[in-house]
């Protein structure tokens, strides 16, 4: 199994979620994060003094999928999350050795 970690723009979450659901991927875990990259933050003024906001709000989606579905999943996420603007985010793929469903104890693919 593979873990897809996608960093996307917050307002794209809903689109990505439904796109993945259409693909039959019924589970994911989402985290509010802050990102830093090519898309620089901006400077704000507070009571007359400038300050840089270097981190921008992003959403991190973690989804574990059977290896054979990785390519489709990447495609789907990339299309759904894309705006063409800098800061669209990244998709990282790493491998998961085992998965256990807490409720049943089922393991690996059957646990997804």
């Amino acid at each position: 199994m593979k873990l897809l970690t996608a960093i996307i723009k917050p307002f794209k979450l809903e689109e990505v979620r439904s796109a993945l659901t259409d693909l039959g991927l019924e589970g994911m875990t989402v985290t509010e994060v802050k990102g830093y990259g090519r898309q620089k933050g901006h400077t704000e003024i507070y009571r007359g003094a400038e300050y840089a906001v270097s981190f921008l709000p992003k959403i991190k989606i973690e989804i574990v999928v059977p290896s054979e579905q990785v390519d489709k999943a990447i495609d789907v996420v990339q299309t759904a999350a894309r705006t063409g603007q800098i800061g669209d985010g990244k998709i990282f793929v790493s491998s998961i050795e085992r998965t256990v469903r807490v409720r049943t104890g089922e393991t690996d693919e059957t646990a997804l």
């Binding site: 917050p10 307002f11 979450l13 989402v30 509010e32 704000e44 003024i45 507070y46 709000p57």
Partner: protein
Amino acid sequence: MTSMKNNLNLGLAAFTVLAMASVPAFAQEAAAPTVAITAATTPNVDYIFNTVLFLIGGFLVMWMAAGFAMLEAGLVRSKNVAMQCTKNIALYSIAGLMFWAVGYNLMYPGDDGWIVADVVGKFLPVSLPDPASDTGNAYATGSDWFFQMVFCATTCSIVSGTLAERIKLWPFLIFCVVLTGIIYPIQGSWEWGAGWLDDMGFSDFAGSTLVHSTGGWAALAGALLLGARAGKYGPNGEIHPMPGSSMPLATLGTFILWLGWFGFNGASQLALGTLENASAVAKIFVNTNMAAAAGVIVAIILTQVIYGKVDLTMALNGALAGLVSITAEPLTPAVWQAVVIGAVGGVIVVFTVPLLDKMRIDDVVGAIPVHLIAGIWGTLIVAWTNSDANVVTQAIGVGAIGAFVFIASFVVWAFLKFTIGLRPTLEEETDGLDKAEIGIEAYPEFGTGSQRI
């Protein structure tokens, strides 16, 4: 609310009545109700009581500006909260400046100050007499101006809630200038300025129509031209609720408004210097409170029955709708009638809030149901309890003021839309107006605030 003119007479009455009032014989006679009633206090005491009524009523209504600020801050999403706070303190300030520079004399031209008789007053800034010779009325001139000004500000506060989260700061503030300086005073002069509606016998004690519906019409015109918040309505008629960021602030705002309303309605009796006036103010307090209470309970019961859960925001709107409903006539109803009038206000909220959504009119805080629709209800029902009013005249007043305010506002909004524009860019709206125009988040440390997973 009678016109200032009438009020002056009332002041003079005090003087004349007095000759009899302060003779030694007075005390005994006082025991007999009939006399005790007509018996005014001495002119100075009468004057002081009236002034105190205006000042206390005035600061209570001023406090309502904070109520609107908190209610709206609680009902918008956190990414627009700082903007909403900015709009509210700015509009209250603008109302003060405009009502001084233009509004007051446009609304209260006196008997012979009209530009167009009984329709348009005069353009003249206000200046206050030296206190040592402020004897023209049965109250201090400044106290009357202050009390009238806060009503003007309230009208403006109503607009900010409906249009929240998607209108740029400056076009909104420019509209406030016109509303508080021109639109509100002109329609106000027709009734409280002793203009043509007052002559006709239209009756609006504390402003269900003159203040609340007026604010509601101006908001409605804006909402239509402005359109809904991005993502609020789906292509196939879906409605996507955008829950407010802080229920306790919304609740606080509602309690503040409820408190302020005792000044709003109570001091609209305009006089406190006689036993009858004092008793009238007290009765108004009771009716005002009961109408609000009924609005809350009805909204709670209805949302429980219809949706299976109690909707706090509807309960809060219910309190306000009850208050608006009783505002046109808080004095003549018996207590049970005040309960009924307020209860209907609660019903109005529960059914018209979703209705507006179906019509795809995006009213962020529910100001249109609460102030416009309940305001119309309150004005028409005056005829039920006040024999001096008749429903036809009431309807004419509602219609005339509604038409004028809606059209005038529409024109101003349209002008702004096609010149400087009303809306921020979609990206600015998505990021939130705080980031786009204020430059500080309302809650910089609480989660990312501006969106929810």
